[in-house]
Each structure stands twice: as C-alpha cells, then as structure tokens.
C-alpha cells in the first residue's frame, strides 16, 4: 500500500510538472467545449435566422395586402429579381412570384397562382421556404374564412377536421447529430486526457532509462502497474470533469430554449460522470498496456492515436447508418457507454440491470488489461528489446 502510494504520488507530481501532459489534458476539454458551443449557436442561428430573412418577391406591387401580412409575420419583403430561377440557382433560398392579375383574380373570386421558386436539394433552405409557404397558406386561409363569413357560412364547415400534431418524437435530426457529438466528445475525453501521462509513465520511463533502476526496487509489478494506473485515472477523471463542466458552461451561453433540442446535460451531469468513470478506468488500463508494450515514446503515441479511433467508431457508424440498437449492445464497454450516455443526455430513462452489466463488463476488461500489463513488466524483454 505504501509502495502504491509512493508510485501514485510520484507519477501525479511528474504529470502535473510535465507541461505537455497537463496541456494535453486541458486542451481537449477546452477545444471541444468551444466547438460544441459554436455548433449549438450555429443551430440556434439557423432556426431563428429565418425571422430575419428577406424574401425577394416578384410583382410585390400587385399584392400590397399580402406584403403587409408577410411583414407582420416577420418576413421582410424585398424587390424581386428579374429572373427568379437564376437568382435561386445563384444561392437565394426562395423567391415568391406574384402574377400581374393578382387583384383582378381576387376580385373575381378566382384562385391566384403564386409561385415559390426554390431548390429542394438544398436542405439548408428548407426552414426559410417553410416559413414563406406557411405564411402564404395562413393568409389564404384567413381570406377564405372572411369570404365564408361574408356569405354567412361558418368557416368550420369547410374544415371538417382540425388536425394538430402532438410530437412525442426524438429531437430533430440536427439535435440527434448534436447529441451524438456530445456523447462522442465525452467518451473521447476519457481516452484523451490521460493519454500523455500513460505514455510518459511507461514508454517515457523506458526511454529515459529510469525503468531498470525502478524495477530494481523490491516492488511487485502488480503494485507498480496499479500506481501508474491510479495516476492515469486521476488525469482521465479530471479531464472528464473539465469537459463536462465546460460543455455545460458553453451551452449556457446558447439560448437553447429557442432551439428545438431536448438536451438535459446540465441536469444529468452526475449520472453521466458516474457512467463515464468505468470508461476512464478501461481507457487508462488499455493505454498503459499499449504504451508499455511500445518500444519508444513515438511508437506509443502513434499506437494510442489509433486507439482514439475506437470511441469515435460507433458514432460514425450510427450517423451514417442509423439503426435500431439491440439491447445487448448496452453491455459492450465504450459502445454501451455511448448508448446510455445518449439516453441520459436526452433525458430518457436508462435500465438499471443494463447499467450494472455494462459496469461489470468494463471492470472485468480493466482488470484483464492490468494483469496483462503486469505480466509485461515481469518479462525481461521489457528491458532488453529496444
């Protein structure tokens, strides 16, 4: 126990004094929180950006009452371009075309053909288009209701059904992507923030030639590995806490109420952290094993940056190929963590037995990895193979 403490404290001191270890543990949370903040505000802008949008309208002078209605709905109307189709092709989200005989047709009670020119392949325009069509339809509905009332007919007669939608669904596609990103960032934090320390304490120790003197002490290799593992986990946990804190902070600056996202990260911080702890343990053990087996600092760095790819895989696969995930996946370390953290973030309940299974599997894997690492330190090859 004393030896464990000595090794643990020494590695922590060494890690804190190593500017590279400390920086790499801090850079990840900071840059990720900043990126997520930017992403969120971009989504928010997109959603209420339509409110500030300008609608080019060809023949606006023929339909002053429609213009007035649109402006009331928050759509600023501008002079239409000569050639609406060319303008849309050139990047204008949407152009409304009003025919010259607008007033005439209205007076005669004939339907007025209005044209919405858009490019459906450009998804980013759909919010603006939707706003315009909804507004025009609302105006048309209002007009119809007034005409019916003028003839003594209740407008409800021509509207036998009034349809409204109760949305129970998951968040919009943007929100789903955002949740995937958040989850990935959190799981990556478990791997990234302790990576440098894991390398420095193992491959670094070997490269500095301090491993042989260290092994000459009466310390069992299990204790040695546990001490180094402890320091690695502390760095990982610190990284997760910083990442969580900064993410919550950066989301506070974004008016999330205006975005149709259901993200309950702030209220789920503690369970999310609890769920991520086993990943931190697992990541620490895996990185120690790989770095201990590497011949040099550089080799360890290369190998571990490949390991960083593991936690990003599920997110990548699911975003390219959304599918129903079978229950057993919740018990697979790292993958299950991502699934369960996603549930926590969107405020869905997680099932207790699956959490227990996941934690158990992760701890078991961690123990096996630590045993393998201790075995490496028992081999003379750790000193000789260079």
């Amino acid at each position: 126990m004393r030896q464990f403490l000595a090794i643990f404290l020494k590695e922590l001191t060494d890690g804190v004094r190593d500017r590279r270890s400390l920086l790499s543990a801090l850079i990840f949370p900071i840059s990720c929180a900043a990126a997520v903040g930017l992403l969120l505000s971009a989504v928010a802008d997109l959603e209420d950006g339509a409110g500030e949008s300008v609608l080019p309208m060809v023949g606006a002078e023929h339909a002053p009452q429609l213009v007035a209605f649109l402006e009331e709905a928050g759509i600023e109307v501008a002079e239409g371009p000569e050639d609406p189709q060319a303008a849309v092709a050139a990047g204008e989200p949407v152009v409304l075309v009003v025919p010259e005989d607008f007033q005439e047709r209205l007076r005669e009670g004939r339907s007025v053909p209005l044209q919405v020119v858009r490019d459906r392949s450009r998804h980013e325009d759909s919010v603006s288009v939707k706003r315009v069509t909804t507004a025009v339809e609302a105006w048309s509905g209002q007009l119809a209701a007034m005409r019916l009332l003028g003839r003594g007919v209740s407008p409800e007669l021509v509207q036998p059904v009034s349809l409204s939608t109760v949305d129970l669904s998951t968040p919009s596609s943007q929100a789903a992507m955002l949740v995937t990103v958040l989850t990935m960032v959190l799981v990556l934090a478990c791997f990234f923030c302790n990576m440098y320390l894991a390398i420095d304490a193992t491959a670094g120790e070997r490269e500095r030639n301090s491993l042989e003197p260290l092994l000459l002490n009466p310390v069992r290799s299990e204790v040695l590995v546990l001490g180094k593992f402890g320091a690695t986990v502390v760095f990982g946990a610190m990284g997760v806490v910083t990442t969580l804190g900064l993410l919550v902070l950066s989301m506070r600056f974004v008016p999330l109420e205006e975005v149709s996202l259901r993200i309950a990260l702030a209220s789920a911080v503690v369970p999310v952290f609890g769920l991520l702890m086993p990943v931190t343990l697992l990541a620490g053990a895996l990185q120690l094993l790989i770095a201990s087996g590497s011949r040099s600092f550089k080799e360890a760095q290369i190998a571990l940056s490949l390991v960083l790819f593991i936690p990003s895989l599920p997110g990548l696969v699911f975003s390219l190929n959304p599918m129903e995930t079978p229950d057993w996946m919740q018990a697979v370390p790292v993958l299950g963590h991502q699934l369960l953290v996603t549930d926590l973030i969107v405020g869905e309940p997680v099932s207790g037995p699956w959490v227990a299974a996941l934690v158990l599997c992760s701890l078991l894997a961690t123990a096996l990895l630590l045993l393998a690492t201790s075995w490496l330190y028992k081999r003379e090859a750790i000193l000789i193979a260079k």
Binding site: Q3, L5, K10, T13, R208, P213, L215, L216, P218
Partner: protein
C-alpha cells in the same frame, strides 16, 4: 556476498554469457573486467534478478536472485541509470527510499546523509533536468544506496565522468568496501580496476578467462603490468577489437 554459479544466457541463437562462475565476498571490491560486449551487463542483470538465466544460479547472501527479497539486500547502479528530470535530486532519492519501505524521519535523515556524502547539497532541491552528467550519476548512486544495502553492484560507474568525478567515485567505492559491504563493479578500463580491485574477474566473449588477485593475474599471464595481462588474457589485440 554475491555468487554466480554456471550462469548461462542465450538470446535467440547468441550466447551472451557462457557458464560464468565467480564469488564476490563481503568487505572486498570485486572487479568485472572485460571489453565491450563481453557479457558484463548481462551477467550483472542476472545477478540482480532482472534477467533470468538460461541455466545456472545467481545468489545474493545465499538467496536466489529471482526473489524480491534480494533487492532489499542489493543496491544497484545499472548500465544506463536514468533519473527523473522533473523531480529534484532529493525527490528522486526519497522516491526510491519509499519504495524500499523507508518513511518519515529515517528517510529524511538517510537522504540528507547521502546528499552530504555525495556533495549534492548545492543542487539537492533543484530539478534534475539541468544536471551535469556527474551530478546525474551522483543522484543515481545516492538512489541506489538509500536503503543502506550490504551488497552493491555498479555497472561501469565512471562512464562519462570527468577526472574529478571519477576520483570522487573511486573514493566512494573504497569507502563502501571499508564499511564492510560486498562491492561488485564492472569496467572496461584497466587502470580503474588496477586502482581499486581486491579481486578481478576477467570476462571475454561471455566466458571467465581469469579470476584472482591482481598479482595472481600477473603470474598467470607472465606479464608485468595489469594492462598487458589484460590484453594477453583477451587473446591479444585482436580479442579487444571483437
């Protein structure tokens, strides 16, 4: 007391150490002399238990070197002793003391003794990253002696040291002997061995080619200087250049 009995080590198909036997007694300095690649470092690593012999036994104070207990009775300065650059000299020494189970005042006192003995006072609380080669070596020695071991093994302790540091190192080695410890050190420098050793074991190509006092070596080879004796034991100039 350090004993090697028929130590044999094969790496792949290379025989690094071939049936090496010798004994280093308490209160004596035993020199392991041999050219580069003669198997000195591998022999020493087998005696510390870090490398398992293919055949033969290595014992320290009668205990098999593979046992953890041996490390308590042994202070070792390895071939390339790295120290922790981000720790101070004192922290480096204290760390190893803790691993040996020392703590509290005993550890502080022992650390200070070594700092005084090795003339590290001026740099004791500085980080080691800026240390000179000599200072690094001193920290490594202090670290190896922190648990006051009865047996000391030094692998080429004067490698890379200047004249002043080399002299200090020789004084330290003599002092360790005078304290009654068993000292085994390896070197490829004859003058050093001649200046220090009570007993010399000459290794060449993994084999013991001579074992005895300096006088016995001179008698065995019929030479009148230890350097000539050494060269003739290695089989002439050609043997050295292997």
């Amino acid at each position: 007391m350090i004993e090697a009995q028929g130590l044999h080590k094969v790496f792949g198909d290379v025989v690094a150490v071939d049936e090496v036997s010798f004994t280093a007694k308490n209160g004596l300095i035993t020199g392991l002399l041999g050219p580069n690649g003669a198997g000195k470092t591998t022999s020493m690593r087998m005696l510390t238990g870090l490398v398992r012999p293919t055949r033969g036994t290595a014992r320290v104070d009668g205990i098999d070197a593979s046992k953890l207990e041996v490390r308590r009775r042994l202070g070792v300065l390895p071939d390339r002793p790295g120290i922790y650059p981000r720790l101070s000299a004192r922290e480096n020494i204290v760390y190893f003391g803790r691993l040996h189970g020392l703590s509290g005042e005993t550890l502080q006192r022992r650390t200070q003794e070594l700092i005084d003995l090795l003339d590290l006072v001026r740099v004791a609380d500085r980080r080691c990253s800026g240390f000179s080669q000599g200072e690094r070596m001193k920290v490594a020695i202090a670290r190896a002696l922190v648990h006051d071991p009865p047996n000391v093994m030094l692998d080429e302790p004067t490698n890379g040291l200047d004249v002043i540091s080399t002299r200090a190192m020789r004084r330290l080695i003599s002092r360790l002997r005078d304290e009654g410890r068993c000292v085994l050190f390896s070197s490829h420098i004859m003058q050093e061995v001649a200046a220090l050793c009570d007993r010399v074991v000459v290794l060449a190509q993994g084999r013991v080619v001579a074992d005895g006092s300096q006088q016995e070596l001179l008698d065995q080879t019929g030479q009148d200087s230890i350097e000539e004796a050494f060269v003739s034991l290695l089989g002439g100039e050609g043997g050295l250049q292997r």
